[in-house]
């Protein structure tokens, strides 16, 4: 350890390597066999269970929990993967507190839902660790499909299509597949290279060829894909970021939170990753929380999340907020940056309190400064390249039904497509449903 949390500037190794390792270990330790049985025992096997409805991929949760309870976690995993081939990642990253577990009747009864997320992990881990891939392909159809983007949406789509016997070329602009599973999700949610391992496991289905470093708009065109393939699926996610439009945004030390996180996810050695002493994160979503928590875990002395509306309006769940608070992150609500201070490098940010007036926010005139040597912008991602000829709505590719775009033969899903929350599990559901629709069209 060469530096400490008090070292000024943006520097690496603020904490000891061992402490860093502990900080970035599994957020929720996996359940052991006994814990899993105790947790599974709590499920009431509800009829038409609310948890199933609350799951964007509609996993049959009571059934898989009963399968765990009766000693067949492998069967439980199959129940999960039938609906959600990335059930392993979703078990780690789903905000269950706003999805299945919020709907659990025991949340209503006792304020303590069945531990669905961790039970899901218990079952899926077991099958994946054994290297078992419980699906096989239908006879080859001779149809070829191009899938753009190897994130959750693209992967779910490609897997389902491969299972139906189609041949898939999966293109991704980045050097690795996985999308935000590989580059975005907080480190402590997907430890030990899980994203990569899950990708390899998923590819065992066969029939999917991954081409990395191939970007639509640069190396590929939609017209070209439409000409070469029987169908096209777009799952490019949101590659762009919103600009802050605050004076001083170009100062050294001002960074996009997603880039900061991508570097973190790809770092071989966390002790070499530089982080500010005083970090200010601007935004209120999952990205803001993750950037703030991870800055703190890297050893920043102070981390402040600046959100322009009140707590209730914050997109990050209360659970995520509390997690951040428990790590020592400070929240400032109803406040917006009006100037980024410094002389070359950032030294702080001037903040003005806000108040809602109808739909718009206005400054109250009261301002204050927060010292900062690093500012992470997390104010939302946008569609990076808008593919030609596709209708756009609300900044996303307009789709109807199961991901049909305005162009015949082209489907889209995940973050880049309209509708649904920007969540891993939603992307999986949309990719899967589009694949089913594509299959019907291809074979119909």
């Amino acid at each position: 350890m060469t530096n400490s949390p008090f070292t000024p500037g943006i520097v690496p190794a603020r904490l000891d390597g061992r402490v860093l390792q502990e900080n970035f270990a599994d957020l929720h330790a996996p359940l052991d066999a006994h814990e899993a049985l105790v947790a599974a025992d709590r499920c009431y096997f509800c009829h038409d269970a609310p948890c199933i409805t609350a799951c964007p991929t509609t996993i049959d949760i009571p059934l898989f929990i009963r399968q765990i309870a009766t000693g067949t976690p492998e069967a439980a995993a199959k129940t999960i993967f039938d609906q959600n081939i990335l059930g392993g990642m979703c078990a780690r990253v789903c905000p269950t507190e706003t999805l299945c577990e919020q709907a659990c009747v025991r949340e209503a009864a006792e304020g303590k839902p069945v531990d669905i997320g961790r039970l899901q992990r218990y079952a899926t881990d077991r099958v994946m660790a054994a290297g078992v891939h419980p699906f096989s392909r239908a006879p080859q159809t001779g149809k070829r499909v191009a899938v753009v983007g190897a994130g959750p949406a693209g992967l779910a789509c490609a897997h389902r299509l491969a299972m139906k016997g189609h041949e898939i070329d999966l293109f991704d602009a980045r050097p690795k597949g996985g999308g935000l599973n590989e580059y975005g999700i907080a480190t402590y949610k997907a430890t030990d290279g899980f994203a990569g391992a899950e990708l390899d496991w998923l590819m065992q289905i066969g029939g999917i060829t991954l081409h990395t470093g191939r970007a639509l708009g640069r190396d590929l065109s939609l017209d070209g894909l439409c000409a070469d393939y029987d169908a096209v699926f777009l799952g490019m996610g949101l590659g762009g970021v919103n600009a802050l439009r605050t004076a001083g945004e170009d100062r050294a030390g001002v960074l996009d939170a997603v880039d900061f996180i991508a570097d973190l996810r790809q770092a071989d050695d966390l002790a070499r990753l530089p982080v500010g002493r005083n970090v200010v994160v601007i935004g209120g979503g999952m990205t803001a929380i993750d950037a703030a928590v991870q800055s703190k875990l890297l050893g920043a002395e102070s981390v402040t999340v600046l959100y322009r509306r009140d707590r209730a309006a914050m997109p990050a769940s209360r659970y995520e907020q509390d997690l951040a608070a428990s790590k020592g992150v400070r929240f400032v609500f109803n406040a917006m940056p009006i100037a980024i201070l410094g002389n070359g490098a950032v030294t702080g940010v001037t903040v003005e309190y806000t108040r809602a007036e109808g739909k718009s926010l206005i400054g109250t005139g009261e301002t204050f400064d927060i010292p900062a040597d690093q500012i992470l912008k997390a104010i939302g991602q946008t569609l990076a390249t808008t593919p030609e000829e596709l209708n756009i709505t609300g900044g996303k590719i307009a789709v109807t039904g199961p991901g049909r775009t305005s162009r015949k033969g082209v489907w889209a899903g995940g973050d880049c497509a309209s509708g649904g929350e920007d969540l891993t599990v939603t992307a999986v559901a949309e990719g899967r449903d589009a694949a089913e629709d594509m299959h019907d069209r291809l074979m119909g």
Partner: protein, 434 residues
């Protein structure tokens, strides 16, 4: 996925999971839902003779006992056979069988103990296209007071007589459903066989009072302050049913007679145990009434995974444990085990200590730091600590290897088996030796 398709008396069903004759099978609506959910077959709710329909109580019919977290462990009922008109049931049975030809459709019957009554109803059932009949000689309440149900099932001669009437008057396979409310299940089973029955099914419910209200002193369920005994079923009765099934499976006179196992089947494991003890298939009532028809999905996936894992066909499982059911006198007295506590798994609740210290053999020590250890010189291997420990697999029984000294007896453990029949303390054994 293992092949679960089942053949019981030539009656084919996609899996060995049938619904027992009870409310879940009382009408087409339920049975169709059950088939949609995946059940392999049903035994239709018991039909009585034509005439004015059966009357049920209009107050509560069921009572229950629960385990922790209000998990239903035992169910008690004072319900009678179907209270819907015979012709309606027959019409529905015919329709459902026609719509679901691959599922087993058995019709349960209970009519008075006169040949004419059986002769009258059998052709009506045959006409529905049902696959077989089950004779309800088991219902322990209400009907038994009228000389039917358990009143017949408790008299082996009646069982034999009615089974014979049925065999003589129908081409359908005949299953005799036995009551557990007797002292030795082998006698009614032998009678069924003598009467020509193709199979037995068991158990029906056990006579029971589920509880008493301590404020108004009415037995439960209370009908205007009074209660009568009902029939007990659910997870709590499984051990009783397993024993009865095994007794019939290994009895020299009834060995090989097909058995449909009933009583507390709740998960695939329960079903597998019945099958291992000689049942050719299983029937389920309480579990479906508690959790709905969907549980059959877990039964199917679980049994299938189990068979795949053990590389067994369904037929290999059936009866697999029967040769291992024996009498006490043949148990190996040289099989010596000791309890072992896994200190990493132990959560230090002390329940094993309380049990052993207060009620068993004072064979567990407790240190001031709450470390619990088994003292081999006192442990008789009774298994109580294993049974009361809340943590799965924390306390286990470990066999002592041959050559080791059992510190309790001072004897050297041998791997040569020896049982009571040759034990020196057995007067009969001594006589034989002399």
């Amino acid at each position: 996925m293992a092949d679960l398709s089942s053949d019981f008396l030539g009656i084919k069903s996609p899996n060995p999971f049938w619904l027992a004759s009870a409310p879940p099978t009382d009408k087409a609506y339920n049975v169709v839902r059950a088939f949609e959910a995946g059940w392999g077959g049903v035994v239709w709710k018991t039909l009585g003779e034509a005439g004015p329909p059966i009357v049920n109580v209009n107050g509560p019919r069921y009572g229950a006992i629960w385990g922790a977290d209000r998990r239903l462990l035992g169910l008690n009922n004072i319900e009678l056979i179907t209270d819907r008109p015979l012709e309606v049931n027959l019409r529905e049975i015919k329709q459902v069988k026609r719509d679901w030809p691959d599922r087993a459709m058995i019709v349960s019957l209970m009519v008075p103990c006169e040949e004419q009554a059986w002769k009258a109803i059998l052709p009506l059932v045959e006409e529905t296209g049902a696959d077989g009949i089950e004779l309800n000689f088991g219902c322990p309440h209400g009907m038994s007071e009228r000389g039917m149900g358990a009143a017949v099932g408790q008299v082996p001669e009646y069982i034999e007589m009615v089974a014979r009437w049925c065999k003589q008057n129908t081409r359908m396979p005949v299953i005799v459903k036995l009551t557990p409310n007797i002292t030795d299940i082998r006698y009614p089973a032998r009678a069924a066989k003598k009467g020509g029955a193709d199979a037995v099914s068991l158990i029906n419910t056990i006579s029971s009072i589920i509880g008493v209200d301590l404020d108004d002193f009415s037995p439960q369920p209370s009908i205007d302050g009074k209660g009568s005994h009902g029939g007990y079923c659910g997870p709590a009765v499984k051990p009783i049913a397993l024993n009865m099934v095994a007794e019939i499976a290994r009895d020299a006179e009834t060995r090989g007679m097909p058995i449909s196992g009933i009583g507390g089947v709740t998960t695939w494991r329960d079903a597998a145990e019945f099958l291992a003890l000689g049942a050719g298939n299983v029937q389920v009532c309480t579990a479906a009434m508690t959790y709905g028809f969907k549980i059959v999905q877990e039964m199917i996936s679980g049994l299938s995974q189990y068979l795949d894992h053990h590389d067994m066909a369904l037929s290999d499982l059936i009866g697999r444990a029967v040769p291992n059911v024996t009498d006490w006198q043949y148990l190996n007295l040289n099989y010596v085990t000791k309890a072992r506590i896994d200190q990493d798994a132990c959560i230090k609740c002390g329940r094993c200590y309380a049990a052993c210290e207060d009620t068993s053999h004072q064979a567990i020590s407790m240190s001031p730091e709450r470390v619990f250890e088994v003292m081999d010189d006192e442990c008789v291997a009774c298994n109580l600590c294993v049974n009361v420990c809340p943590v799965d697999n924390c306390i286990t029984m470990e066999r002592m290897p041959a050559g080791a000294v059992d510190l309790r007896t001072g004897a050297v453990v041998t791997d040569v088996p020896a049982d009571w029949t040759t034990h020196p303390n057995n007067p009969a054994a001594r006589t034989a030796a002399e």
